[in-house]
Assembly symmetry: C2
């Protein structure tokens, strides 16, 4: 279902075509504070972030990229606004990509300098149009058409310079606008799509809004890489991103714990069991489907479909594995046996 | 985009057709514990739950419905499995709807009794097929076709008895399976659709998975009412449900706070401001778009589109209202002024 778009490379991460959909995030440190920035990126890498973007509002930040890059293991993208010198400096210092809208640079010869440097180093530029950054003189409202048209104006500047190492984003706070924008754009150009819902909100609101917007775009095959933007710790952005990909079976992170909602039928403490199993299997990356079910109504059915599962009864439950009933055990014993069996798969 | 389906009524809530998409939840108390169940339902009502389902695993629960119903203000649905006597008793005690799969009742004359009673009281029956509860003798795997076929078998039993006061759900843990199931079914019958992702997981995982699954179905117009199923406090189910509807502009709950992700450009503490504003405006239900933006790049643009907004600078920021700049203020003052102005709209 994913429409074929051209492939670009940000460092060692290929984006577009049939390449895996990659997870991005952005640091919220001062980029010039190298120590703190590196620490955050290393945490994000460990969580699963595959491309990191840093803000470059000043020369110190552009210069910091060199040392940051030497200490991290994922590609780094410099986020530039208005000032072409910061772009040049970032690329010289090893940035693997730029996020920069050429239309915001006021002289054509400055844009040419940036393009020349990007070609030299073979790094891509992301055109990133947001509802908040469209040209208000030309467009009264951030409609999908306004977003796409703004993006095309930036793109055409680069295309005229024979530069097509481009990735595009068309982010809005509004989910419908965002989806429509990518739909329209994808029929006009085949550049890889960087997706996101911008200004989505705090963790609660932003993760729901991003899940819906990015989810719909992934479902429609209109996403090659994405960032979940949250007004929260960027670690949360990566955690939500992983869960979005899990939900649509696009990629698999961690073991897959299926659990039923608690209801009046449940006789065992599902919430507690799920939390316990989750915490104690956090570092296991086996491709495993574990069912934790509260009752005899849907429990055994779901549990049988899983690799391992339990189906609760009255303070006790059945343990299943590969479709076979292993036995009936009291609640505490059940959890221990389940975790023990999950861990067996770790070295597979 | 929402396909027209027939309308049914659960108590005073109309479902299907052009009716508002309603929010459901399910208690996790023992239904026979009337006091606790009523307390939970009243909390859920206050949060925004519009239809409540209770488990009816025994006669005490069926009998409890009478008193529960007298103390709550939203329609109540009895969740029945296998035992037709519990269905009859629930309806006699005032249940506004049944969730019951007639194929699971072993004698045709028992089903007839339930249908007769439901007709008498003019209450609908939800056929609810889950991936975990399909007939394993007939279907090896819970494919969309298996889910739809299972549902149709239950439906046909009722249709043969000239009973069409039906609502249908086809829930699976798998988002793609769920979406496909509703797509197939919606081309076969026009009964209103009750949507959900079943066994979605704990709050973190379940809210993401549900947002994607329910979000895609809402986007496709394939949802008339829904429950977010979480292995968590049902209050969370309602909160997530409201945010899903907000995200797609289908309904509006609370004021709409748009905030940018924190990044290296931000000079004010966006997270803190968002949390403060959110907490202090929790009870305000004005149809208001409030932008809380961290920097001069996207900030002013977004803030101008909002009814009220702030765009941060260095420990200070601009306050906007209806497209006009009100002034520049230090961070603390800015928050107070913003909240003050939001509250002005409360009595509109």
């Amino acid at each position: 279902m994913r429409k074929k778009r051209r492939t670009i490379s940000v460092g060692n991460v290929d984006i577009g075509g049939d390449n895996e959909i990659s997870i991005q995030s952005m640091t919220n440190t001062k980029t010039s504070d190298i120590k703190t920035t590196v620490a955050q990126i290393l945490d994000l890498e460990k969580e699963g972030c595959e491309i990191i973007r840093v803000a470059v509002p000043d020369v110190d930040s552009a210069n910091a990229i060199k040392e940051i890059k030497s200490k991290i293991n994922i590609p780094i993208i410099a986020d530039i606004h208005f000032d072409h010198r910061l772009a040049l400096r970032s690329v010289e210092n090893g940035a693997d990509g730029l996020r920069l809208n050429p239309g915001n640079i006021n002289k054509k010869r400055y844009i040419k300098l940036v393009v020349k440097k990007a070609k030299e180093k073979n790094i891509p530029i992301r055109i990133g149009v947001n509802a908040g950054s469209i040209d208000r003189k030309r467009y009264k409202h951030p409609t999908p058409e306004a977003l796409v048209d703004s993006a095309l104006n930036h793109i055409k500047i680069l295309e005229k310079m024979n530069y097509e190492n481009i990735k595009v984003s068309l982010k809005s706070y509004d989910v419908n606008t965002t989806v429509k924008s990518y739909e329209i754009f994808s029929n006009m150009r085949d550049y890889p799509l960087h997706v996101g819902i911008t200004e989505a909100g705090d963790f609660f609101k932003g993760s729901i809004r991003s899940s819906i917007g990015i989810g719909i775009l992934l479902y429609k095959g209109l996403c090659d890489t994405f960032r979940v933007s949250l007004t929260a710790d960027p670690m949360k952005e990566v955690m939500v991103a992983k869960e979005i990909l899990n939900s649509l079976n696009i990629r698999q992170f961690g073991i897959d714990i299926i659990s039923c909602p608690t209801c009046g039928r449940t006789e065992i403490d599902i919430s507690k069991i799920v939390q316990t199993v989750k915490e104690r299997t956090r570092d296991i990356n086996a491709n495993l489907k574990v069912a934790i079910m509260g009752c005899a109504v849907n429990g055994p059915g779901e549990a049988r479909d899983a690799d391992i599962g339990i189906a609760g009864g009255k303070k006790e439950g059945l343990l299943f594995e590969k479709g076979e009933i292993i036995g009936k055990y009291p609640e505490d014993k059940l959890i221990e046996l389940l975790i023990e069996r999950i861990k067996k798969y770790e070295n597979d």
